[in-house]
């Protein structure tokens, strides 16, 4: 308790202990929900795009309650760029792999030549791969958009 009181008094202006504690408790659940939306997109509303935006929003919330430096501890500038590009590459790569393996472009049932499985099940699996790619790309692009706009490109403090 004493520790918390000292912490509250030593904060710079504009940083509220209540907001920071609430955000710190909310973020794991928001990220879990984002992952659930991506993975469960086959059975319920949602999918890669929405889940990726929810995942990105958790990092944006962290950047709003703390500052940008705190988010760089979890996802650095370099990781962000690499993951965002990987997401777009997963989608196009899966699609091109299908064409290379003898099917049509984006015809996921051709992937059955790599891992033998029912081609119809592979179409369901291919949709899942693609949604993961969309989720990664959207999450990282949303976070990087917020970084750039809130700090004017200098990536120092943010709002």
């Amino acid at each position: 308790m004493k520790h918390l009181q000292e912490k509250a008094q030593s904060k710079p202006l504009g940083e509220s202990l209540i907001v920071q504690t609430a955000v710190r408790m909310m973020i794991p659940f928001i990220q879990l929900f984002g992952l659930y939306v991506i993975v469960h997109g086959h059975y319920s509303p949602g999918g890669g795009f929405q889940g990726g935006v929810v995942l990105g929003a958790s990092f944006i919330l962290m950047a709003l309650a703390y500052d940008l430096q705190k988010t760089f501890g979890y996802i650095s500038e370099r990781t962000n760029a690499i993951l965002g590009s990987t997401g777009a590459l997963i989608y196009t790569g899966t699609a091109a792999l299908c064409a290379v393996l003898g099917g049509y472009f984006l015809d996921y049932s051709a992937l059955a030549k790599i891992i033998p499985m029912n081609p119809i099940d592979w179409r369901s699996m291919g949709i899942f791969l693609v949604e993961v790619g969309v989720g990664l790309a959207v999450m990282n692009i949303m976070v990087s958009l917020f970084w750039d706009i809130s700090s004017g490109g200098k990536m120092d403090e943010g709002l």
């Binding site: 997109g41 086959h42 059975y43 319920s44 509303p45 999918g47 795009f49 760029a81 965002g84 590009s85 997401g87 777009a88 989608y91 196009t92 699609a95 984006l106 996921y108 119809i120 099940d121 179409r123 369901s124 291919g126 949709i127 693609v130 949604e131 790619g133 969309v134 790309a137 959207v138 990282n140 692009i141 990087s144 958009l145 750039d148 706009i149 004017g152 490109g153 200098k154 990536m155």
Partner: protein
């Protein structure tokens, strides 16, 4: 100038409202949008893709190009913002 802009907005709105008269009623099974390929999706998508959610099956499989270029558009938007705003660190 402001009055002309208001007039143009009002006329456009009136034309749009007038054109909604020809829309099919909500949920009409005989409207042109529901008779072409929708029935095939509703009947066949589960047995062709094993995905219970028809919307996901259409977005990810039947209309995969659409979703792919949507991702590419978002990716290019992010890269453009990085290129315009981000400053190199000293």
């Amino acid at each position: 100038m402001k009055k002309i802009a208001l007039l143009a907005t009002l006329i456009t709105g009136a034309i749009l409202l007038y054109s909604t008269k020809d829309f099919a009623p909500w949920g009409d099974p005989h409207s042109p949008a529901s008779v072409h390929v929708s029935n095939v999706y509703i009947e066949k998508s589960v047995e062709q893709t094993h995905v219970p959610n028809i919307v996901t099956a259409i977005l990810g499989d039947y209309r995969g190009y659409d979703t792919m270029f949507e991702t590419v558009v978002i990716f290019s938007a992010g890269m453009a913002v990085i290129g315009v705003l981000r400053r190199p660190k000293e």
